[in-house]
C-alpha cells in the first residue's frame, strides 16, 4: 500500500520498522516467494544431505564506521553470528564482501579487518570466503560490508526460528540493558561531548545462547533486537498470532546515561537499535533456570524477565508503563527524527 503512494524508497524502508516490513511483503516476498523465505525468519533453515543448516546474510552501511565500543567490522561479524544463533544454530562459517569507496584510508580498512578477525575468534567462527569491489568516490559512503553465514542446528531446535511452539504463559527474557548501540552511534554522529561514554553493546551472542540450549531449557523463540529495537521484536513475535503479550516496562533494563541521552534527542529506548541483545520466549516452568544460566554469562549478567505470553490482547503487545499506566506497544511507525522544540 505504502509503496504505491510513495513511489520512491525512503530511509524508513531500511529502519527495520513498519516500512521495512511493507517493502518485504509488498515486493521481495511477492517476487521471490518460496516455502523457506515465506517463514520470514532471521536465518533460513535448510536440510542438506541429512544435516540441518541455518543460512543468513546481512548488509552493513553504518555511519560513522568507527564508534564507541565497536566498528562496522565488528558489527558485520556479530550481526551474522547472532542471526544464526537465534535460529538455534551453532554458527560455523562466514563469507564477507566489501564495497570500498575510492580514497578510503588503508589504515581504516585494516582496523576494520582486525575487528572482524577479533570478533570471529571470540565467536569461534571462520571467515572462509570473500570479495572486494572498489567504486568511484561518492558512489558509496567509505565502506559497505555484506556478510553471509552458515551454522548447524539440532533437529529439536528447528521450531525456534518460527516460534511455532510459543504458548500462553511462556516467559519473555532479555539479556541486559537496551538502546546502547543506537545511542553510541548517535552520540558519535553528532559529536556529542559526554561526561560518560555510551558504548555499543555489539557482541556475539552464540555462547550465551548455546549455554541456555545446552542446559536443556525449552526455548520457544529467540530474536536479536537490532534495527527497530526491542519494541519491533516484541510486536513481530505476536503479530497475526492467536495470542498476545504483556510487558512490564519497569522490568526492562536501561542504563541511566542512555536514558538521559534518549531524553535529550526525544527518542524512546524501545525503538533504539541494539547489537548484542537477544529476546527469548521460554517455557514458563524453565524461565528461572534460563535466567540463572544467562546471568552466569558475562553477556547476560543483567538479564531480566520482562513479561509473558498472554491470551489478550490478541496479536498485540500490552504494556504496563513505568508509572503503572496501560497502553499498547506498537512498532516504530516512521523514521525516528529529533524533535524541534
Amino acid at each position: 500500500m505504502a509503496m504505491i503512494a510513495n513511489s520512491n524508497i525512503l530511509l524508513g524502508h531500511g529502519s527495520g520498522g513498519r516500512l521495512s516490513q511493507d517493502l518485504f511483503t509488498g515486493l521481495f516476498a511477492r517476487y521471490f516467494h518460496n516455502p523457506v523465505l515465506d517463514q520470514r525468519t532471521d536465518s533460513a533453515v535448510l536440510q542438506l544431505s541429512g544435516k540441518h543448516l541455518a543460512f543468513t546474510t546481512d548488509a552493513y552501511v553504518v555511519n560513522p564506521i568507527f564508534f564507541p565500543g565497536a566498528s562496522i567490522g565488528s558489527l558485520a561479524i556479530c550481526g551474522t553470528v547472532n542471526d544464526l544463533a537465534v535460529a538455534g544454530a551453532v554458527p560455523l562459517y562466514i563469507s564477507s564482501a566489501f564495497i570500498l569507496e575510492e580514497g578510503l584510508p588503508y589504515s581504516d580498512l585494516e582496523k576494520i579487518t582486525a575487528d572482524m578477525a577479533e570478533k570471529a575468534r571470540e565467536a569461534q567462527v571462520t571467515i572462509v570466503a570473500g570479495d572486494t569491489k572498489v567504486v568511484t568516490k561518492g558512489a558509496c559512503d567509505k565502506i559497505f560490508i555484506t556478510t553471509s553465514g552458515i551454522g548447524l542446528l539440532k533437529p529439536e531446535h528447528i521450531p525456534i526460528s518460527t516460534g511455532q511452539n510459543i504458548e500462553i504463559g511462556d516467559k519473555i527474557l532479555i539479556n541486559g540493558p537496551i538502546a546502547n548501540h543506537g545511542m553510541a552511534i548517535l552520540s558519535k554522529r553528532y559529536n556529542l561531548q559526554l561526561q560518560t561514554d555510551v558504548v555499543s553493546d555489539c557482541a556475539p551472542l552464540n555462547h550465551l545462547i548455546a549455554a541456555v540450549l545446552q542446559a536443556g531449557c525449552e526455548v520457544h523463540f529467540m530474536r536479536d533486537a537490532t534495527r527497530g529495537g526491542l519494541a519491533t521484536v516484541l510486536c513481530e513475535c505476536v503479530e497475526k498470532k492467536p495470542f498476545g503479550m504483556f510487558i512490564d516496562e519497569a522490568l526492562i533494563p536501561v542504563d541511566d546515561d542512555v536514558r538521559y541521552l534518549c531524553e535529550m534527542f526525544g527518542f524512546d529506548p524501545f525503538y533504539m537499535a541494539n547489537e548484542g541483545k537477544v529476546v527469548l520466549v521460554v517455557k514458563r516452568a524453565h524461565a528461572e533456570q534460563v535466567l540463572a544460566v544467562m546471568q552466569q554469562n558475562p553477556l547476560g549478567r543483567h538479564s531480566t524477565i520482562i513479561g509473558e505470553i498472554t491470551e489478550n490482547p490478541v496479536g498485540k503487545v500490552g504494556l504496563q508503563t513505568l508509572i503503572g499506566g496501560k497502553r499498547l506497544l506498537e512498532m516504530l511507525a516512521g523514521d525516528p527524527l529529533p524533535r524541534i522544540c
Binding site: D268, L322, I323, G324, G325, L337, I340, C341
Partner: protein
C-alpha cells in the same frame, strides 16, 4: 541530570491518580495544549489511570500541526524560484500543502535543506553567498525568540541573502478563541516551555474572564498527574485561577530578555491557524525595521487559493472536537508513513501520538 527518575516514580504517580479519583465528582473536559504533553500522556498511558469523569482532549499546540496550508504552499512556491534554498525544521517537509509537499519539491530537484535551528540557516547563508536562504519560522513563544535573535544577527552583520518566512504564533489568543468558538473546555493544561518565556500572566484572562482552570505543567508523568489534580481541584471548588505546577522551570514573570527580543523584531498580527481559522492578534509579523529579512516582502508571490485534503479532520482534532479515531482517514489512508493531515506528520501531532502509542480512545 537524572532527576527525571523522581518524576516517574510509580508509587507517587499512582498515589496522585488515586487522589484525582477521590476528588473528582463531575465530568470535566481538560485540554492539553502542548504537543509535548500529548506525547507524554500517551507514552505513559496516563488516561488509563484517570477516572471516567475526566476527558482529556488535545489542543492546537503542535507548531507543525497548526501551520496553515497556505504557508506550506508559499514555501513550495518560494522553492521554485531561481537561487532560493529553503531551510526548515525536518517535520515540516512532509506536511501536505494544497498540491504537494516540500519533500516532493526536494525530490523534484528544488533546494530544501533540513536544519535544527535558525542559526544553522544563517550559517548556510554565510556559506553560500550566491544563494538566497529562506528560513521557515514556525513555533510559538518557545522558538520565536531564537528566530528573533537570528534576525538581529543577520541585520548586525548585514547578511543580505537571508530571510525568514514567519508563521510564528502566540498561544493565548488561540486558547481564548477555542472558548469563544464554543468548545466546552473546563480547564487548560498550559504549555510548560511557552510559559518559561511568557510567564504565567498570559493565562489570567482565561481564568478571570472565561472562568477556566489553568495549570502550567511540566512534561514528566508526575508533573502532568499533579497538574490534572490541581485542575480538578480548582473546578470542583469553583475557584478558577492560574497556577504553576512546573515551578522548577517557570517563573511568574517568565524570561524578560527573551520577550524583549521578540518585541524588538516581531509585532502582533492576525494569523491563520489550521482548523481554527483567522485569529486576531495571534501571529508574529516581522517589524518594518527588519522588512528586508521578511521573505514575504522580499519575494511577494501570488498563491492560488489553498485547499484542504478531502475528509481530513485535523481541524476538528486541533480544536478538541474530534478524536483521531473519529476521522475517516485515520489509520486507513492517513498513517505516519503516508500522512494526509498535519496532525499525523509531526511526532507531537495528536494523530501520530495516538498511532504510535496504540491509543484509540
Amino acid at each position: 541530570m537524572k532527576t527525571f527518575h523522581l518524576y516517574r516514580d510509580k508509587e507517587a504517580c499512582l498515589a496522585v491518580a488515586a487522589a484525582i479519583t477521590k476528588i473528582s465528582t463531575k465530568p470535566v473536559m481538560l485540554m492539553e495544549v502542548c504537543g509535548g504533553h500529548t506525547v507524554a500522556l500517551q507514552r505513559y498511558g496516563i488516561p488509563s489511570l484517570l477516572p471516567p469523569t475526566i476527558q482529556l482532549v488535545s489542543g492546537p499546540g503542535c507548531p507543525v500541526c497548526v501551520t496553515h496550508i497556505r504557508f506550506i504552499d508559499y514555501a513550495i512556491a518560494l522553492s521554485q524560484l531561481d537561487k532560493v534554498t529553503i531551510a526548515t525544521f525536518g517535520d515540516l517537509i512532509r506536511v501536505p500543502g494544497s498540491r504537494s509537499t516540500l519533500e516532493q519539491a526536494k525530490a523534484q530537484g528544488r533546494k530544501v535543506e533540513i536544519v535544527y535551528s535558525p542559526l544553522d540557516a544563517l550559517d548556510l547563508a554565510r556559506q553560500y553567498p550566491e544563494e538566497q536562504i529562506v528560513f521557515l519560522g514556525i513555533g510559538f513563544e518557545t522558538t520565536a525568540p531564537t528566530s528573533a535573535a537570528v534576525l538581529l544577527e543577520a541585520q548586525e552583520n548585514n547578511i543580505q541573502n537571508f530571510s525568514v518566512l514567519s508563521s510564528h504564533k502566540i498561544m493565548p489568543p488561540a486558547m481564548a478563541a477555542l472558548i469563544t468558538q464554543g468548545i466546552p473546555i473546563d480547564g487548560y493544561l498550559c504549555p510548560g516551555h511557552v510559559s518559561v518565556v511568557t510567564g504565567s500572566g498570559i493565562y489570567e484572562e482565561l481564568a478571570k474572564k472565561f472562568g477556566k482552570a489553568c495549570v502550567i505543567s511540566g512534561f514528566e508523568p508526575l508533573d502532568i498527574l499533579q497538574s490534572i489534580y490541581m485542575l480538578v481541584k480548582q473546578i470542583e471548588n469553583h475557584a478558577p485561577a492560574v497556577e504553576i505546577e512546573y515551578t522548577r522551570a517557570v517563573k511568574p514573570e517568565g524570561n524578560p530578555r527573551a520577550r524583549e527580543l521578540l518585541q524588538q523584531v516581531f509585532e502582533p498580527c492576525d494569523a491563520w491557524w489550521r482548523g481554527l481559522g483567522n485569529i486576531p492578534g495571534s501571529g508574529l509579523r516581522i517589524r518594518a525595521a527588519f522588512s528586508r529579512f521578511d521573505a514575504e516582502k522580499k519575494f511577494p508571490l501570488e498563491i492560488p487559493e489553498p485547499k484542504e485534503p478531502a475528509g481530513c479532520r485535523c481541524g476538528d482534532i486541533l480544536k478538541g472536537m474530534a478524536q483521531p479515531a473519529q476521522c475517516p482517514l485515520y489509520k486507513r489512508v492517513c498513517t505516519p508513513q503516508n500522512p494526509v493531515g498535519a496532525c499525523m506528520v509531526s511526532s507531537e501531532g495528536t494523530c501520530a501520538a495516538f498511532f504510535q502509542y496504540g491509543h484509540d480512545r
